[in-house]
Subunit: 246 residues, 6 copies
């Protein structure tokens, strides 16, 4: 069961509303790197968890936090849409800046929501829940979570660089910090379960003698005859689970 | 900002796990009539609300409750998947009942989640957030919410009739009761704003003299020549906003 | 079986073609608030109707009318695309207005249709038939239809305000008038079946004594401890079906 | 503008309702080879047509006919759902046939429509309007239409072979005949425009001297060294537009 | 099994990067008329082919070539994104051209890929594999392939006309030439199987006496009473399979 | 540019065709954990790569290998569909086993492909290219790849356990071995770039002093008052990048 205190996790303010930036922020709400995705992903992992309670508790706690991030971003979108141009009348179109802004907007911000956020990405593609990964395998899920927070932080940094609004930079610096922690947190959970190399290969429940082992630690080159193979750490040295040489 | 007490809103128990009913329950999680939809819909309406705080508060409160309904249903799916057949081995296929159950399952319950719920409908179609209606017009949104709770309650009743598991019937009787209240609640909000007829036509902000008024209260029959028109309340009597006769 | 007279239901003309407005109009064709949706929704409700013929007839009649609305809007899109810029050549890009227009267009209007309409919304997201609600429960479906016409009319009004083309305003004033009537019409059907309060809770076929009745008329507050509940019509007075007090 | 006579184009009857066949029929309604697709495709081609009126008229006429095919199939689905098992109660599951039927159904036929058709395919995937091809190039569109009627007729024949219900066979024999004619019809339109070889390459408006002509009539083999090329009509003889040798 | 030589099939160069044209090019990658679609379509047709090896070989060969086309276009997108504006800072927005360019871009080119291509169309709609047609009927599939190459060539020609960059024109002239050949090639396969009229109606395996033959060669007019029918090649003369008169 | 030798990477054989297992295998083709996804993901990462050539080469080489895995699985699906029941005729429905098999199949294997594979998952949901992650940040992409191979290997192991066909077990033991190696390979690439802790936080290009650092290494508990926090490695000890204490 869930509760709210009707407050934002961190204050959201916008000095100069920018409807085009409102569109960009949508990627952090409904994009594949966004907050709806991590929120649902952590909830479904928690609700399906069958192992020790501490992992479930951690997932539940962070899922609930992510819901607050969607809330912050939805608020930021609405604030950036203040004073958005609402028409394509001739005088607006003749105004290079005004027309330009209208063209760069997500028109559904005008037509469908009356200047509020949508559960969509920056191109207006609705969030699709197939991006929620909850496999029932803890190690696989923790890797999926690190990945989600990595692509999420890459996105947040790009949004930070895209704006010069001090309020928006502040909000993003908070979200970026949380992404830093969340990357740590899911990696820490892997540590807690014995460390990455002990988890490998994921899932580690399958007896490796049943694999076609000739191919388990061999890099396969698919270049046409005569082309030198790609060389790197993956073709020389000990494997990362310590069980073989490449 | 959001919080959890790690408890279910209402106890969920399953006496005889039934993996086919687990599939059916998915419709109430990720179907267009389901709980993810109302949860996100009420949240986005709340986060975009610009009117009196009481409506926003009510939306926020109920959105948060709906999150707990997804949790209950996800728990119910997992419980129904206990002891599901995990293979298509010959002996299972030769067993009419066993094979039948496997065939009726959502295979992703085995292959993708390891016996847990998914944000999908009963056919495995992922929830798509385009079903979140938050128009910025309060009356339109309240109607959308009554609709969502109506289709939701129709679904919950059909699920109730589909199962004979006492635990599942109990859980559904609770969810059905909440749907009853939520229908009431959104209708009460319309009352609170002055009643439905005062809201009509939605949106009531557009000056009706700008409409092509000859066609505003006229039923149009598209039957080929010679066929009698469809007759009913819509073709006789006072209009429902009291402004005209049909 | 269906027939056409090869005419538009209402004349469509555009004085100054505007390719950006063509994009906006797409929301009324293929958006979730648009005409393809209501057209298919009323058809599928009609084709699945098992009750009195008059409801089926009415649904069939209006579904057929809506097909003519898609036709009007598709015509309007094509007319607005006349003289659209077809290139991103340097001289166009250097022209603030020309470049701006190209940027604001749906590029598929150039690349995929050769200046004609698409069954997509204003962001180029294809119409998805999961938005067709036809539940087999008449009251639920009528509410869904009022909702559809409410979001549809909100959209049409916003489009009306977005343009200053007299032809487009005229066409939209017609479509707005039809939305007014269609809201009336589905509400009238509910009247015809005995009125809304008699229909509540939807579906009214389920014996309410089987609900978990303690929770059927109670507003649940999910605010953290110490926060005052949201107060309004939904927490005081008689319920809207007259069966209880909140 | 469109009209209806409230009749089916061809009578639809079902001797022995079969809910699993109802699911199969959905492919012909909302599948990519189905009737919603051709209906919308021909309408959008007609509404966007800028050439001679006779092509537009033909498209409009057939689009309107296809609407009647959706109606026939939706009726057939509803008839096949009569007496469908509505529960997963233990006694049904213990009955190999009853349980089997439930497992093979589209559960939304029970849960979402109350035993009526949906705009979805046989797996419950909603129709997606991205399958509507209307390019503005008449030859390309006619080829797309022949393709649609070819995949449609392949589907209808497979459905015919799947059932032994005389009513269903009759209905399908009618739809198959119409697919035969529609294949003819779009090919005849190409004839009417001067024949296929005159249309090639599609579009024939682009000056072929601007192509990289060394590669316009050459089959490219991508087999690794030493493998013999695929040989056939495409690597020898005159090209099909008569302009070159392969 | 597949191999690469790490080279492009044809050189790709861009003289003046244009991020808006990068967006347009996406239609040729992930649009329904694009290269991912034909690549997967030919592969799935090949992998499912049960007839003579020569058709499978040809399909495999061309599918593999198409993969190289995606590669060329992805390279072209990346080159056009060089020097794209990465911010919506005030000074960019005040610059009509700079702001205009940003507004015309696919923002995911900045936010999600760091200036590289995506498997999406020009509006940012992800490629959806439902567009892969592989019916198991050779004639139907060959028609589908001609259609795909026709819509593909229409698109490539429109892109050619949209740009004035010599490098881009060169690349497109190559792709256009390949589309010319691929149209030929699939038509040649039909010749190879005995010619189109021998394939009609598709599928030709169904005994036509089982069709409702009264309707197999008759154009049906759905105009309301009194309107003259659409006249053309489809209503007079011999049918195209030579089996009947219209 | 790409080439083929017309051979499978590893032999595929099926002793007892099982159409229900054919459906299960579809998850490994077109599911979010499947081979189309990794194939396109590695290709788009390679085509957009701007760093050292060795990473691009490795990505290209493995992407090309994955194409061969789709081929193997498509072959396996076709072999499992041999002798599938093609009808719902009464005698099949009365046969518990036969009827059961039909009910458990993907009907499009009969209706749409004529017993061949589709680019869809086990529920018939088409592959959607939004699952292709190619962010332009090498560390984020490598994590995404480890994740993809982890969920892929979890799936392959579950498929292995689901079947008792020796041919299918053999094929899967090969694919499982390749997943083992691919997990290693992407982790090795991270090693090659300096190791995971050096990459953290991803992206490591953003100056951490611009983050809201109070929140960068702090686990946030969202339990309601009085509930003990979730304790684990994430709330005590050194952070995993060695820069702070939790
Ligand atoms: Ca977050
Ligand atoms: Ca609920
Ligand atoms: Ca309308
Ligand atoms: Ca038809
Ligand atoms: Ca090509
Ligand atoms: Ca693989």
């Amino acid at each position: 069961m869930y509760y709210t205190d009707k407050k934002l996790q961190f204050p959201v303010r916008v000095e100069k509303p920018n409807p085009v930036f409102a569109r960009a922020l949508q990627q952090a709400i409904g994009g594949v790197e966004g907050e709806i995705r991590v929120c649902l992903q952590y909830f479904f992992q928690a609700w399906g968890a069958r192992g020790p309670a501490k992992y479930r508790d951690m997932l539940l706690s962070t899922a609930t936090e992510e819901l607050g991030h969607i809330e912050m971003l939805a608020t930021a979108v609405a604030l950036n849409l203040e004073n958005a141009p609402l028409s394509v009348q001739e005088d607006v179109s003749n105004d290079a800046i005004g027309g330009s802004v209208l063209n760069g907007m997500n028109m559904r911000h005008i037509l469908s929501t009356g200047l509020a956020a949508l559960p969509e990405n920056c191109n207006g593609v609705p969030f699709n829940a197939s991006h929620v990964y909850a496999s029932g395998n803890m190690a696989a899920d923790m890797m999926a979570n690190v990945t989600a927070e990595s692509s999420g932080r890459v996105l947040a940094v790009r949004l930070y660089n895209m704006t010069d609004d001090p309020g928006m930079k502040e909000m993003l610096s908070f979200l970026i910090a949380r992404d830093t922690m969340h990357q740590q947190q899911w990696l820490a959970a892997i540590e807690d379960m014995g460390g990455l190399s002990a988890s490998l290969p994921i899932p580690n429940s399958f007896p490796q003698e049943k694999e076609y082992q000739d191919m388990s630690y061999t890099f396969i080159n698919t270049f046409v005859e005569g082309l030198a193979p790609a060389e790197g750490r993956w073709s020389e040295g000990k494997s990362l689970d310590g069980k073989a040489d490449f």
